[in-house]
């Protein structure tokens, strides 16, 4: 150790660490996860590259045949790019949110979870910081997909922005809001799987298992009206339907929900309000379970 005497290390040892405020702890955890996510090629791929691939492919492949179904369900003036944007947004949110638990399992396997528990860090703040970093990721990728969709539409039809997102700038906020509450529910789900299985592979498997089948039995890719009856039935119970419909109503500027018929409000609110209620409900239920499991995992009670 190259003659270093290290005397300064513990010259004043009999003291205790000062500790932080809870907001400091949130910031510390948030920053750590942000750095980790940015360094993880898998995260960068699912957030930035995968949406582009799917968006372009779906538009090129399904766009060619979806026209008549769209016209039948929503009228003639809606491009498939606009119609598909909510599906791509929701799909990417799902991919990101459903991997939230992987980070947690990773931390448990690497001993970082325990390292945090034995430090004076505020435990809720630590978890909240992680959630916040994932929400940030979802917000950023949603904005990027909106931009990408708009570019695709411009290339295809040379349309103006409010033809793409009919509710304008306020609509962007609305889309982000629905996306975040949608993502929250699946982040909770992913953490539940992670905490129950304590296994990375299982967490990834459950995430994938859910993502694709659920996307197809929803209104994501085609209007429910043109899909088989059993899909329409299952779609009512599928949270993805509510996420997609919520975002789509905001983008198209009209009531698009067909699974539940709400007429108490006007226009898009007949979709956005019930969709938000369902999604917030999912957050509350799954979030409660996740927090309970997390408390249990972090607790010092003998098991």
């Amino acid at each position: 150790m190259s003659g270093h005497d290290g005397r300064t290390v513990i010259s004043d040892t009999a003291q205790k660490a000062p500790g932080n405020s809870a907001t400091d702890d949130v910031r510390i955890s948030f920053k750590r996860w942000l750095i980790k996510n940015l360094r993880n090629p898998y995260v960068v791929f699912t957030s930035l590259i995968q949406p582009v691939i799917f968006f372009v492919l779906f538009v090129e492949v399904f766009g060619a045949i979806a026209g008549s179904a769209l016209a039948e369900a929503l009228g003639p003036d809606i491009s498939y790019v606009t119609y598909l944007s909510p599906a791509i947004i929701v799909m990417s949110t799902l991919s990101s949110a459903a991997t939230s638990g992987i980070g947690l399992v990773d931390d448990m396997e690497e001993g970082m979870f325990e390292k945090m528990l034995v430090s004076p860090v505020n435990r809720s703040a630590m978890f909240f910081g992680k959630v916040l970093s994932e929400v940030t990721r979802i917000v950023v990728q949603t904005l990027l997909i909106l931009l990408l969709g708009y570019l695709l539409l411009v290339i295809k039809n040379g349309a103006a922005f409010d033809q793409y997102l009919r509710t304008g700038v306020a609509g962007i906020v609305g889309v982000v809001f629905v996306t975040v509450i949608f993502g929250g529910a699946f982040m909770a789900y992913s953490n539940i799987v992670a905490l129950v299985t304590r296994d990375q592979e299982a967490t990834i498997m459950f995430a994938n298992l859910l993502t694709f089948p659920l996307l197809f039995i929803s209104s994501a890719f085609l209007p429910l009206g043109v899909l088989p009856k059993w899909i329409r039935t299952v779609a009512v119970l599928n949270p993805i339907t509510y996420g997609v419909d919520g975002v789509r109503a905001i983008m198209l500027g009209r009531d698009v929900m067909t699974v539940v018929d709400v007429t108490a409000f006007s226009g898009i609110w007949n979709t956005v309000v019930p969709a938000s209620i369902v999604l917030v409900g999912c957050n509350v239920i799954l979030g409660t379970v996740a927090i309970r499991l997390l408390r249990h995992a972090a607790g010092s009670k003998v098991q």
Binding site: M1, S2, H4, G6, R7, T8, V9, I10, S11, D12, T13, A14, Q15, K16, A17, P18, G19, N20, D24, I28, R32, I35, K36, R39, N40, E110, G111, M112, E114, K115, M116, L117, V118, S119, P120, V121, S300, K301, V302, Q303
Partner: protein, 354 residues
């Protein structure tokens, strides 16, 4: 056996709390929900500045005990005070005043050593203006200065351990808990960590170290407790333990170490009454005898072997090591317990030769 157990664990009820103790654990018992008793009434009184060893085979309850000392586990029974703070009622103060290095290396592999240490500084609220200096010093200390800005995922086991060790010291805790810090490391890496632990102890840090390597405990610790089946079976300085429980060991190498020859030799030795029921173990090329009276009967010994027609090519009488102490203590306390037997075997096999 009963008298040994009563030594380290005197009745605790009437002793008043001494504020000077770094670690004061009383009658710590951990019973898992499935009924497994991992720790059965462990009491430890460790003074500030001590280098204390907690020694035992796999499954003896070392990790469970250490976890209940660092607030990761509440004991089913008993109490823990660290630096005067009660772990049950004041866990936050305990956490601020200790460093804990878990058995599994705990570092963030996606971060560099510098970032890992920065994270640890932040977690413990080390003031921003002191962080850089502390991190530099620690990087020097564990010799990771050259790779300070390289992501740690591809580091060797020893490098990761050293980084982990540095990261538990950023807040200069007065007490450090090290749970088998050198398990799985190569001898060189192990020696390097030893040097490091000795240095922080010299600087005043109380060190609580669990290990399954007897040599490690012997080398480093001022005092140690031997743990078996969740109970402390002896406590004392390595020297005391060796003189109290260790017996001289006589190792015999045979010219022709065939099974039949070894057997004949062992039979001849057993007939020597003066040895008073020696403990004999066969080795690859002969056998080893443990007895208090080896040195007195050495000549009788060789003539007995000679008479039996067994020729000795080499022999060695040595003083007891902690290894022998452990064997002596565990032999007669749990001859019927196979699991301990295996634990011991792996322990001596895993020893480092230095």
């Amino acid at each position: 056996m009963a008298n040994r157990q009563s030594q380290p664990q005197q009745s605790t009820a009437d002793q008043s709390r001494e504020p000077d103790l770094a670690i004061d654990a009383r009658d710590v018992t951990v019973t898992y929900r499935d009924g497994t008793k991992a720790v059965r009434g462990v009491s430890l009184r460790i003074e500030k500045g001590e280098f204390f060893g907690f020694l035992g085979p796999n499954g003896a309850g070392k990790t469970t005990t250490i976890k209940s000392l660092v607030t990761l586990l509440y004991p089913t029974q008993g109490s823990v005070r660290i630096n005067g703070y009660d772990a049950a009622t004041d866990p936050q103060m305990v956490r601020r005043s200790i460093g804990y290095m878990a058995q599994e290396t705990s570092i963030d592999r996606e971060l560099t050593p510098r970032e890992n240490l920065q994270l640890a500084c932040k977690l413990y609220g080390v003031p921003a203006e002191q962080r850089d200096e502390r991190i530099e010093t620690l990087l020097d200390l564990v010799d990771l200065q050259d790779v300070a800005d390289t992501r740690s995922e591809k580091f060797s086991g020893g490098m990761k351990k050293r980084l982990d060790a540095a990261s538990v010291l950023v807040h200069r805790p007065p007490v450090v808990f090290l749970d088998e810090p050198t398990t799985g490391l190569d001898p060189e890496a192990r020696l390097r960590l030893w040097e490091y632990f000795e240095r922080i102890n010299e600087q005043g840090t109380t060190v609580f170290l669990t290990t399954q390597y007897l040599e490690e405990a012997d080398e480093l610790c001022d005092r140690l407790s031997l743990l078996q089946n969740g109970q402390v079976i002896a406590t004392g300085s390595p020297e005391t333990l060796k003189s109290e429980f260790g017996m001289d060991v006589f190792e015999i190498t045979l010219e022709n170490p065939a099974e039949e020859q070894i057997e004949r030799g062992v039979q001849a030795i057993r007939r020597i009454d003066a040895l008073e029921d020696p403990i004999v173990r066969t080795t690859d090329d002969g056998f080893a005898i443990r007895s208090d009276r080896i040195r007195e009967v050495a000549s009788e010994f060789f003539s007995a072997l000679d008479d039996a027609g067994v020729s000795v090519s080499d022999f060695d009488v040595r003083s007891p090591t902690l290894d022998d102490v452990f064997l002596a203590l565990t032999d007669d306390s749990s001859a019927d317990d196979d699991r301990i037997g295996t634990g011991m075997a792996s322990m001596s096999a895993g020893e480092v030769s230095t």
